[in-house]
Symmetry: C2
Subunit: 836 residues, 2 copies
């Protein structure tokens, strides 16, 4: 009893009309048989990859030499992944439903390679791996083999946007891929071990952030194979009703499917599962239809729980120990396949159990009926363009950021909140790019002062509404996604970027460390992808880190950590960029650059509090283009001569302190020749041989001199600057002030004083380091030391910074002091507005 009479109608090569509802009936035995044959073929190809060097079709007796000397990879998860792949293919082909397949347990690499090989995309991508015996031999050999391909579903694998080596992110990635792809289905397999990770456990709630009309659909499939590496899994060992409640509690309609146990006939399993899958696709179709009809209430999206034996179809026991349906099947059962005849024989029997001779022709090509099960062209999950996002990437329509410039009549002559200004420009980015740009944040987008964006968009929210929400910018669709999970923000954005869109993640600086490991994985993905010719460039991953270490006013020590930059620097220089714009105009120019870039991770740290503005837009553009520059107006150099000292700065607060120090020096040591160098692009400090943005040694010497003291006020942990510059001729003269892990809830100036980054201390550093100045400037040094004590005492008495610091303005800045929004501050502007 076939649902369709005509094979061709099952096999459109481009997406058909998606989300169609189709009658459900048991499949005819021929289709069931083909499904099983696909599954067996994929399993055979998977086992072959793990074990075999040669003799792929077992055309001669399997010998020790056919077995790889190093047996690397993971079998346990693979048969389940292959089972799902086969069944999805049948449905996709029938419905013409554009679908991609993400596997949380990315260690099932051989399975995904096998399916792509059966679909033909593998050979299209790598012609050497042809669909014949020789191609199959290469396919087997290359797996986890030196010079070959990795064991995981890596960038090398067609169809992958999810390596899955570090477990926990498959649903976040899946939802990221689904946003703004209304016609796309993302089938996402969650490992039951993976489900124990924190990021995965919260990512089920993604369904409260997806819009059934404008976004695609994620179909989560919990792969309940019972085990992880060496233990049972929690979700496999709670009673069914608990598990079903959990899924309902997550907002899903769960479908529990149990198959493959107690010698159940595979045909029966296929028959039951095929019906379930059709039902689930129909449920999705119904939801989509209702949504199209205007029902925007959050639906209970279906999800599938597939309870099946781990290692399904491998030898039930080996050496007297249970392997199938046990954690023992996780990695490579039969470790001694090459070393002992007993294991070799077991391997032989295992391989032959799939009946390869019925699945592949004598040349080694997949039998025609198997090949015909798959959809064709872009409907193949391994050939869907969404998994090579660069193919679909459209440039953003970029508004002219110079139109959002802060008017800076003179350096220091205006006050602005940099991220707020950025928010105004982002408003226009959003307006012009209504379907391929999103902002992600863990409940901090307003706190980080990007709230201007709510003038043109809303926060997408599909949980419940109250009447009082009317003014709160919550809506069923919107460009901003806010969930209190840095993991989700990162994962969603990654999925969104990998499928060819653009976005940014705004986050408190300290808590971006929560996604250190996710950053690592994405960076590695980019590092590898760049070397793969068929992977097209994607938009960069852009961070905006605000509420940074120096201005976490409401919080304290736990919120003070500028170390993400250090982490980032360990990744390959080709893909990492770090920017520390000192004011609003430089922030605009920097971010414009970031949103245009490709295949990078851009880290931008910027302030949100009102602060002095230094550069006009034209100056900012020039400054950002250079990445660093001498601020002549701030120094006292004599043209044609080396300065006596260089004051370097990177970051908004360090820049402020350096300028205040330069002002003090100018007043008190008018004969001292001071150069002020501001660095926006931190990579400029590195050697040009280490980083594409690196300055040549000559340029470095030009900016910083080889012989004069360099007092550098840096935003983060000071040691990083030494690491970046240790090869420079002038490094021996470099003295860095930065965050040295001192802090608490206190005033802004107290924070810099606690870390010796304050203006007074910088002046003392100059006095201590400029040859010959020491004793001559002893009086000034003492004055500075007294000024620190006075400032400290003032904070202790008044709970605020001393007016001489708080109200300090750059001397040539004009009448800012009295201008509206000027430094004459009051409690409100100082501490309010963090969640407005």
């Amino acid at each position: 009893m076939s649902v369709t009479s005509d094979t061709e109608s099952r096999r459109p090569s481009t997406p058909g009309s998606p989300w169609g509802h189709r009658p459900v009936a048991e499949l005819d035995s021929e289709t069931l048989n083909t499904l099983d044959r696909w599954w067996r073929a994929a399993n055979y190809l998977s086992v072959g990859q793990i074990y075999l060097l040669a003799n792929p079709l077992l055309q001669t007796t399997l010998s020790r030499d056919d077995v790889k000397p190093r047996l690397l990879g993971h079998w346990g998860t693979t048969p389940g992944l292959n089972f799902l792949y086969a069944h999805l293919n049948r449905v996709i082909a029938e419905r013409g439903q554009s679908t991609i397949y993400l596997t949380g347990p990315g260690h099932g690499g051989p399975g995904l390679v096998a399916n792509s090989y059966l679909e033909g995309t593998y050979t299209e991508t790598y012609p050497d791996i042809s669909q014949d015996a020789e191609g199959m031999r290469r396919l087997f050999r290359q797996f986890s083999f030196p010079g070959g391909i990795p064991s995981h579903v890596a960038p090398e694998t067609p169809g992958s946007i999810h390596e899955g080596g570090e477990l926990g992110y498959v649903l976040s990635h899946a939802y990221g891929a689904a946003f703004d792809n209304p016609d796309l289905l993302v089938a996402a397999v969650v490992g039951d071990g993976e489900a124990e990770t924190g990021p995965l456990a919260t990512s089920w709630h993604s369904n409260k952030f997806v819009n059934p009309v404008q976004d695609g659909v994620v179909l989560p499939i919990l792969h309940l194979n019972g085990y992880k590496i060496a233990n049972p899994t929690v979700l496999a060992r709670i009673p069914d009703d608990e598990l079903l409640n959990l899924m309902r509690g997550y907002g899903h309609k769960p479908h529990l499917f149990v198959g493959g146990f107690d010698g159940e006939d595979p045909a029966a399993v296929h028959a039951r599962f095929a019906v379930l899958l059709d039902e689930v696709f129909n449920e999705i179709a119904d939801i989509k239809a209702a949504a199209a009809d205007g029902n925007t209430d959050r639906p209970a999206w279906p999800m599938i729980i597939l309870r099946s034996p781990k290692g399904w179809t491998c030898p039930p026991t080996i050496d007297g120990k249970q392997v199938e349906d046990s954690w023992r099947s996780h990695q490579v059962p039969l470790a001694s396949a090459r070393d002992t005849p007993e294991h070799l024989e077991v391997l032989h029997d295992w391989l032959t159990s799939y009946g390869a001779e019925e699945l592949f022709d004598d040349d080694g090509a997949p039998a025609p009926d198997i090949a015909a099960l798959a959809p064709t062209g872009e409907l193949r999950m391994s050939g869907n363009p969404h998994v090579n996002g660069g193919l679909l990437l459209r440039d953003l329509r970029m508004p002219d950021y110079t139109e959002f410039a802060v008017d800076v009549p003179a350096p220091g002559g205006a006050i602005a909140e940099p991220t707020k200004v950025l928010g105004q420009w982002l408003t226009e980015v959003i307006r012009r790019n209504p379907d391929n740009f999103r902002i992600f944040g863990p409940d901090e987008t307003a706190s980080n002062r990007l709230q201007a964006v709510y003038d043109v968009t809303d926060k997408q929210w599909n949980a419940g509404y109250l009447e009082t929400d009317a003014d709160d910018h919550l809506a069923r669709a919107g460009r901003v996604l806010e969930m209190l999970s840095e993991h989700q923000c990162q994962g969603w954005l990654e999925g969104y970027l990998l499928t060819g869109r653009h976005g940014l993640f705004n986050c408190y600086e300290a808590f971006i460390h929560i996604v250190d490991s996710m950053f690592n994985q994405h960076a590695k993905w980019l590092e590898v992808s760049r070397e793969i010719p068929w992977r097209r460039p994607i938009a960069s991953l852009n961070y905006l880190l605000s509420s940074h270490v120096w201005r976490q006013d409401h919080n304290g020590f736990s919120h003070q950590d500028p170390g993400f930059i250090d982490l980032v620097m360990n990744k390959k220089s080709e893909i990492v960029r770090v920017y520390l714009p000192p004011d609003a105009n430089t922030l605009l120019s920097t971010y414009d650059h970031c949103l245009r870039s490709r295949d990078y991770v851009n880290v931008v740290v910027a302030g949100k509090q009102p602060g002095p503005q230094f550069l006009t837009m034209d100056e900012a553009i020039a400054h950002c283009t250079r990445g660093l520059g001498i601020w002549e107006w701030a120094g006292t150099e004599v043209p044609g001569e080396d300065p006596d000292v260089v004051l370097g700065c990177a970051g908004d607060i360090p820049t402020l302190e350096v300028l205040a120090a330069a002002d003090l020096l100018r007043q008190h040591l008018p004969d001292l020749s001071v150069r002020v160098v501001n660095v926006v692009d931190l990579m400029r400090l590195q050697d040009e041989r280490e980083h594409p943005h690196g300055l040549s040694d000559r340029d470095f010497s030009t900016y910083f001199t080889d012989t004069k003291p360099i007092i550098f006020a840096y935003h983060g942990y000071p040691w990083l600057l030494h690491r970046l510059t240790y090869r420079r001729a002038g490094h021996k003269n470099l003295h860095v002030r930065g965050y040295k892990e001192e802090g608490t809830t206190t005033t802004p100036f107290d924070m810099v004083m606690l870390n010796d980054l304050d203006r007074y201390h910088l002046v003392m550093d100059v006095i201590d380091r400029v040859p010959g100045l020491g004793s001559k400037a002893a009086g000034l040094r003492q004055e500075m030391s007294d000024a620190r004590l006075r400032a400290r005492r003032y904070t202790r008495e008044h709970g605020d910074d001393i007016p001489e610091v708080r109200d300090w303005v750059w001397p040539d800045s004009g009448d800012t002091g009295t201008a509206e929004g000027g430094p004459a501050r009051h409690a409100t502007t100082d501490t309010a507005g963090d969640n407005e």
Copy 2:
């Protein structure tokens, strides 16, 4: 209708017989009134801390100058926390139940300080903050004030083991505290925003790992106040049945309590909640009783959902906008309390609404009935000894690790798996310390080869069992906890340590980055605690990182990241230690030291694969005591003369490559004087002014010379070594090889070649850097280059390392090559056993 007739019976000062079942009845109005008075007093004290500089009892008209110039902190969560505190106090006093209180939203700092002040512990701890008007003034003033206390529930706060600045870990900490504390109740408040984080979302499953007999009880209280910083929360906006299902799915018996809305009389709320709390305590008592009777099945532990308005009791609206029951109450409502008369008046009315004059006497002391609500002595939640774990810390009974030594007849003369040897010693640690030492791991304890411990203990597991589990070391109680969540492992261990116990966390090196931010927070906790005299030292947080970057054989690039060390180095040197023992005996000696240490974070990176052993136990002890040392047997120095080159190494694989390079140099350049220095304690490389373990400049020069080339093979990212040594005289001669982010699934030697850390490349580095060697050794250089190519080609052909590398042994090592377990390897030992 009072449950007890006699106040005293409600107020034992030391834990009574816990887990008693008591009849539940409505409280008498007097007790209800006292509860409300406590709550009002705590709320008043909280508001006072946020806003007031002076005039704490409003004995004169509230003036602008009484208000702090910087209004910092968080109100929204505080009244809910105070409400729970009051009610718990009533029950604790009645039942004599030892209880501690952890608040996920640690930004409710003022509330916890207020309650501790009411309990008297604050004044006992800080006598200056006396229970009178002057003390109250200081209490108010110090909060979020320069030189005062932080805004969060920081180490400074009596009763705290959980700062709660970075959200997400409260349940993990709570369960960590509960393990092996059978009489302890841990009340853990989860913010509904916090509940959206990944770590929190999985930590509910902790209940599958707790034993109802031998462990304490965690009572999770979901604080459903509806909002986070600027948004509603997911859990507050799903239907009740979904939320209840979610909690049931997590294995809990949820009790939903709604109170404080629509002007409900507080007395009614108190009455209802008190009954609920008694019922919940009785449910817990029943579970405990059943468990004591031998019912070890996992119970459905009760949990409470408290739905109450955020900012409860603050002005309902301010400036026409809703504040109470809105996200607007999150931080500091009334930002302009000092700046505008309108806001000042609102503040005045808010403060007076609590009726402080009825709650405190004229001197400012809490009214006697309020004080009497609290239990006394160690039953006060802020005075419970478990929250100052050092008080309860017992030294571990340490077995003699030298008895577990690997016999090393000559350097390189034995083969061992270092972590496996460590596991044998840990077996004895466990045996001797059955109730205060635990091992945590994300399903990797066997993979990291510590499985010997299962000879004496089991994996604690309270989810379901199958018959087939008999041999799998799962049991209702055991010293090992394995859940596939690095966050849980870290959080559990932190909670365990902070309450005065010992443990270690074993993890794949790459994935320890998952807890970077948790490490940061714990390090900050230790940094601050060390400066607080009443905080007693606790056991160090010990990491064992294995399956490291160089030997992630089954996996690939995603599993290769040695950067955790870099992160750790940014924290204060007093508390961080990093060790890279090169073999089993040094690992034993190192770990013995770690388990004895206090208040540190010890990071130990060690290999798990079979490898050559270099030092006898005596040598290992001396080497580890020094932290580094010259391996004379490996070098070719002429006594009394400087060597021509120093080969440095840190880490097992770099050490192996350096020794092989030294062997090559000895053979091919017998006249070259080579010194080999191995570093176990990485901190030794730092300046003694930077780190307590740092070498003096003089010692550094002695080891590494000031003038000779130093070729250093380092385990991790090479730049770190430059950062550590840039001030040393010899730094200009330092050339570091390490992991430069090249990798995939390949052979061990291919991995080191990919990163130029291999023996052949090290020899080339020596030739390139020893003055005068270049042209003389050109032939050897070419040979080395050819050897690399040959080795590379061999891997590509055979999928294994070339025998000359694989079977290389240190020349003087004796007949290891043929010894059992010697380097004559086969596929089985090479790649098997990762999950046995």
